[in-house]
């Protein structure tokens, strides 16, 4: 089956081509939706077969590289269109195709009646293809194609409602920010390639070959430069400080897009990339520290902003940024398995949350539409009490919220607790571990708070929607609720494959599965790890208990403020108006960027355009063009059409040639 790995990105490509080229002619939504969904579902089947086959192999044999065709061979440089199958890419293709299939299915219902229905599915398939290239690529160049491809699709899908200015702006913002990151990625790639090549004559961008040569890489130094550049790329794609502001704006896209691209898959590309190159990253203690700190800072920073947003999708967007921060924190402390584990569980519950919010928006929209009202369908202040009208949406949403908040027994608990524990117990960063753990724990508290705030404001209490249209609220159709139920199920039980050893009820399958991938990184890390006292089981129990308590505190505060005493939030904002305004306005980061980067760039651009480009460059270009055009006229004149002139020209050429050699 491994030989057919190329089918995985191939099916979505076919889906994209069919819907992209003929979708407009097909018109029938059912056919278009079926093509798109079947394309990705076929990939899911293939992925499943590959997973089953890989499980059957012994751990050391679980690496397979498939060269589909030789691509670029030029001098020392060699890049094949090749795919790498190992436990890590296996998990990723399962998540991408699995969650992707559900979201495709959901989109059939959600996008019903939208103009450009075919366009949506074509882009969605193209996105899946790019994402699969990204995770399957066996060298950095194939990965980079996917990397750019998902950026492009993200741009196209955020700007899906391109007639809305805000959507167009958001798409542009996402694209430009991602480009900044991509630039870092490229520099990192070049640095690594150049260093290994010029120092050890190993000219390669292939992951397996780099891994084999990784013992030649020094600790720190050039590796720090390269990995920091890669990390810049990761911050762009995965919306970390400082390149995170595009993600909340990306909510301008249709909700399934937010679920698939901006929560479950694309934004995890940075985490995946660090995992894929763990054996390089771990060689730079400095980079690891930066990754951990940026991750922790993003986690708490985004979580605070999430507490004050009123748009349901925006809360989830900041929550995504925050959760990605957790993943980076895990990567930064060398807990690669925990990071990837959280990536997976997060894909389940966050996709479920986003799709659930889509279901809510869908219902609100319908109801408001019926009543000819123009209230904001995404504003939580207009919702409330929806659990009666939408029981399935509520239930799935609720369990996912519990999962993300980190209540024991749900998937998010296992992964998040693992990360916090590793942040505390990691031996890489010395005394910084307390700070990293503390930040993470507070962020977890905020997470529980804003998520339950969301649930309470949306589903509990009195319905605040205009009473005229209350009766129009109803549950979404099956095509929407089935994906919700599947994802809700995974959000609860998806974590059991990675149960901590401490609880000891089930073996930690997940860790064993990824062991061969991160083994080498572990060895490298051990060389500079601090060999202090390992925290005892008692400490681990205490921390686990602590994180549960922290989550419960967050929930309790939310319960007090938004269910018991709904006047409290008002009182709070009145007491601390400045704080509230700052948080509500996202700590004025966008304004800061405008002031510090965007406006100076615009001014520079204006100057370069008016001053430099128009006068100097255009002058030179037009001058050259004028001269060339003049020559062209002369040559044209020589082409007289007279045959004896032509013969003369030939004879002249021969005479000059012969003369040169005979008389030289």
């Amino acid at each position: 089956m491994f030989d057919y790995v190329w089918l995985i990105p191939f099916f979505p490509l076919v889906g994209f081509l069919i819907n992209g080229f003929f979708g407009k002619k097909i018109k029938n939504e059912a056919v278009i939706g079926a093509i798109g969904t079947l394309a990705i579902f076929s990939s899911f089947i293939v992925s499943c077969l590959i997973l089953v086959e890989m499980i059957g192999l012994s751990p050391e044999k679980r690496v397979f590289e498939k060269v589909v065709f030789p691509w670029i061979h030029s001098g020392n440089f060699k890049a094949d269109m090749a795919f790498l199958l190992d436990p890590l890419s296996c998990i990723m293709i399962m998540v991408v195709t699995g969650v992707g299939s559900l979201i495709h299915l959901y989109s059939i219902g959600y996008m019903h009646g939208e103009e450009g229905f075919y366009r949506f599915f074509a882009y969605l398939n193209l996105f899946c293809m790019s994402m699969l290239l990204l995770v399957l690529g066996s060298n950095m160049l194939v990965m980079f194609i996917g990397w750019e491809g998902v950026g492009l699709c993200s741009y196209l899908l955020i700007g899906y409602y391109f007639h809305k200015k805000s959507a167009g702006d958001a798409a542009k913002k996402a694209f430009v920010m991602n480009r900044v990151g991509d630039f870092g990625f490229l520099i990192g790639l070049f640095t690594l390639y150049w260093w290994l090549g010029s120092n050890h004559n190993i000219w390669t961008i292939n992951f397996t070959e780099i891994k084999a040569a990784s013992h030649l890489l020094p600790y720190g130094g050039v590796v720090t430069v390269a990995t920091l550049c890669f990390f810049v790329g990761a911050t762009g794609k995965s919306a970390q400080i400082p390149l995170f502001t595009w993600l909340p704006d990306a909510m301008e896209g249709p909700t399934p897009v937010s679920a698939l691209i901006h929560a479950a898959t694309m934004v995890t590309a940075g985490v995946y990339m660090i995992g894929r190159m763990s054996f390089v990253f771990i060689k730079s203690p400095e980079t690891m520290m930066v990754v951990a700190c940026v991750g922790a800072a993003t986690a708490i920073f985004a979580a605070t902003i999430g507490t004050a947003q009123n748009d349901i999708k925006r809360v989830l967007a900041y929550s995504t940024v925050s959760q990605l921060g957790f993943m980076f924190l895990a990567m930064g402390v060398g807990a690669f398995t925990a990071g990837i584990f959280h990536l997976m569980t997060h894909a389940f519950f966050k996709a479920c949350l986003f799709l659930g919010s889509g279901s809510v928006i869908h219902a609100m929209h319908y109801a408001l539409h019926k009543g000819h009202l123009h209230d904001d369908a995404q504003d939580m202040r207009n919702m409330g009490g929806l659990k009666k009208a939408m029981p399935i949406t509520f239930l799935t949403f609720f369990v996912s919220t519990i999962a993300i908040a980190g209540i024991p027994g749900f998937s998010g608990f296992f992964s998040k607790d693992e990360i916090l524990w590793m942040a505390f117990a990691n031996p890489l960063h010395g005394n910084l571990n307390i700070l990293l753990w503390g930040t993470g724990a507070i962020a977890a508290c905020f997470t529980a708070f804003y998520m339950f705030r969301l649930v309470f404001m949306t589903f509990f209490g009195e319905c605040r929607i205009n009473s005229k249209v209350k009766d129009h609220l109803h549950e979404s159709p099956l095509v929407i609720t089935i994906p919700l139920m599947v994802l809700g199920f995974l959000a609860v039980f998806g974590g059991y494959i990675g149960m901590p050893k401490l609880l000891g009820m089930l073996p930690n399958y997940f860790e064993h599965w990824l062991e061969p991938v991160f083994e080498l990184a572990g060895e490298y890390g051990a060389t500079y790890a601090h060999h202090g006292a390992h925290p005892s089981h008692a400490v681990e129990w205490a921390l686990m208990g602590g994180s549960v308590v922290i989550a419960l505190i967050g929930i309790a505060i939310a319960f007090t403020m938004y269910v018991q005493n709904t006047a409290l939030p008002k009182k709070f904002t009145d007491t601390f108006p400045t704080l509230h305004r700052a948080v509500y306005n996202k700590w004025y980061i966008d304004e800061l960027y405008d002031y510090a980067f965007v406006n100076p760039c615009k001014a520079l651009g204006q100057f370069l355009w008016k001053g430099f480009d128009v006068l100097v460059i255009d002058g030179i270009v037009n001058g050259v063009a004028g001269v060339v055009m003049g020559c062209s006229g002369v040559f044209r004149y020589m082409q007289s059409g007279l045959i004896h002139n032509y013969a003369w020209s030939m004879a002249f050429g021969v005479v000059v040639m012969l003369g040169y050699y005979v008389f030289k």
């Binding site: 691509w71 040559f635 045959i643 032509y646 020209s649 030939m650 012969l658 005979v662």
Partner: protein
């Protein structure tokens, strides 16, 4: 009475040639019985024949058979070029009928003539004796002269035929004289033996007769591939000839000229590489520059593509100048991709054109992108490929040609080539500007796209794109092809 003993002859190497010759003669005979409005059937038959010949040629891949006392060989080099000829002939046959019908010169002799041209070209590619190569060249040329003047009611076509004939004869004189001098200097016309004799000379570059012979042969081939300053016939002939034949001429015979020249210069005269690469350096620069710069000011799109084809010969000469593995493999790669992209572009020109060769200016493409989006996309792909933009075949081809030059240390040549390539973007994209950014000057009337035409465009699109995305698909064959020479 003593019997004259005839040496055993192995016909395998020239099986495709024999097959196509017989087919051409049969078609000539059938032609008599086919009414004037059914001549398309001859086209279908010859297309099938070309495909069959392609199978025959492909079956010979990997073999190495010499025959006719070593004057003809079947090797991968010949096989690769034969494929190029068959591709260009096949595509030319596909686009011929609609055009010839429209211009009222749908004579059945067209298809046999094309097949004879292919036979001549094949002999040029597989000939290992100067005489065989010359024979092939003449078979090809005579048929081409007729094809250029095929639209005999059109004075321009007549002019093209005559001009091509006269100047072609002139250049043949040089070529033959060059071969004669080479024979005089070495005492043989067999390429392998020439190599052996020249290899034993103490200072071959001091042998005036040999050097002159080499230069004159170079002149002859430079004419066939339209290298400056032997290119002057090209614009007039390309403009006057029936458009499908222009497409054919710019792809097939040009490749044939390269095939023969590569074999002679790389196999017979490698010891003189310093000398001929100097000349080729100058020719390459002149050819690229003259071709591109003159093309800038052309409004007639056929004429523009004529100059562009001169420029493309110049790019290929860059690889020839390098004379190394990358450069020569690049030539093979480029000639094949060029056949696709150029004939594809000509197919679109035929579709846009109207009776009497009208509607053939760049301005006539105004609004084409709106009226015929699919064809416009195809045309854009061809133009991008001609301009050498990734991910098209044209980019990869140029990449290998220029990197071959850089490997040999011809940095300046590569720079001039790249600059030329940049200048060429102007006139290719100018067509696209008209297609997409100008409003149509008149309402497009209904455009007829016959099935063969559509097939040709589709094949050409694939041929211009796939090698650009998966270069190794073609390149590995090209690399194997040049190993044997």
């Amino acid at each position: 009475m003593d019997m004259i003993t005839i040496p055993a002859v192995n016909f395998t190497p020239i099986l495709p040639e024999i097959f196509l010759s017989v087919l051409a003669m049969v078609l000539l005979l059938i032609n008599v019985f086919i009414p004037g409005d059914r001549k398309a059937y001859l086209g279908y038959l010859s297309f099938v024949g070309i495909v069959a010949a392609g199978v025959l040629v492909a079956a010979g891949w990997g073999g190495h058979i010499e025959s006719f006392s070593g004057s003809v060989v079947l090797d991968n080099f010949a096989t690769f070029f034969k494929m190029i000829f068959l591709v260009s002939a096949g595509l030319a046959v596909l686009i011929s009928d609609q055009y010839m019908e429209r211009e009222g010169c749908n004579h059945g002799e067209l298809y046999p003539l094309i097949l004879f041209t292919v036979v001549g070209m094949m002999l040029m590619a597989s000939g290992t004796d100067l005489m065989t190569i010359f024979l092939g060249l003449e078979v090809m040329s005579v048929a081409l002269y007729v094809l250029a003047g095929f639209n005999r009611k059109n004075p321009k076509s007549n002019e093209a035929g005559l001009k091509y004939f006269l100047l072609g004869c002139f250049s043949t004189g040089f070529l033959l004289y060059g071969m004669a001098l080479t024979y005089g200097a070495t005492g043989t016309t067999r390429i392998a033996k020439i190599a052996a004799v020249v290899g034993q000379m103490s200072l071959p570059s001091a042998n005036i007769m040999l050097v002159a012979g080499m230069l004159l042969m170079l002149t002859g081939f430079a004419f066939k591939i339209a290298a400056a300053p032997f290119h002057m016939w090209t614009p007039d002939v390309y403009e006057g000839a029936p458009t499908p034949m222009t497409a054919f001429m710019s792809a097939g015979p040009k490749a044939a000229g390269f095939a023969a020249a590569l074999r002679i210069f790389l196999v017979a005269l490698p010891t003189l590489q310093v000398e001929w690469s100097q000349v080729l350096w100058v020719l390459a620069v002149l050819t690229m520059t003259v071709g591109n710069i003159t093309a800038l000011r052309q409004d007639n799109i056929k004429r523009m593509l004529a100059y562009s084809s001169i420029a493309h010969a110049g790019y290929a000469l860059v690889g020839f100048t390098a004379g190394n593995g990358t450069g020569t493999a690049g030539i093979l790669f480029y000639m094949l991709s060029y056949a696709f992209m150029n004939i594809g572009a000509f197919a679109i020109i035929i579709l846009v054109g109207k009776k009497g060769e009208s509607n053939g200016n760049v301005q006539d493409f105004a609004g084409f992108g709106v009226k015929h989006p699919v064809l416009a996309v195809a045309m854009s792909i061809f133009l991008f490929s001609l301009a050498g933009m990734p991910p098209t075949a044209g980019f990869i081809g140029k990449f290998y040609l220029f990197s071959g030059a850089i490997q040999q240390g011809y940095i300046w040549l590569a720079i001039i080539g790249v600059l030329n390539s940049a200048a060429s973007v102007y006139y290719y994209l100018r067509v696209m500007v008209f297609m997409y950014m100008k409003d149509p000057t008149e309402e497009f009337d209904w455009m007829q796209v016959t099935a063969p035409m559509a097939l040709c465009v589709a094949i050409s699109v694939i041929g211009s794109l796939i090698p650009g995305i998966i270069p190794s698909l073609i390149l590995q064959f090209a690399q194997q092809a040049i190993k044997l020479i």
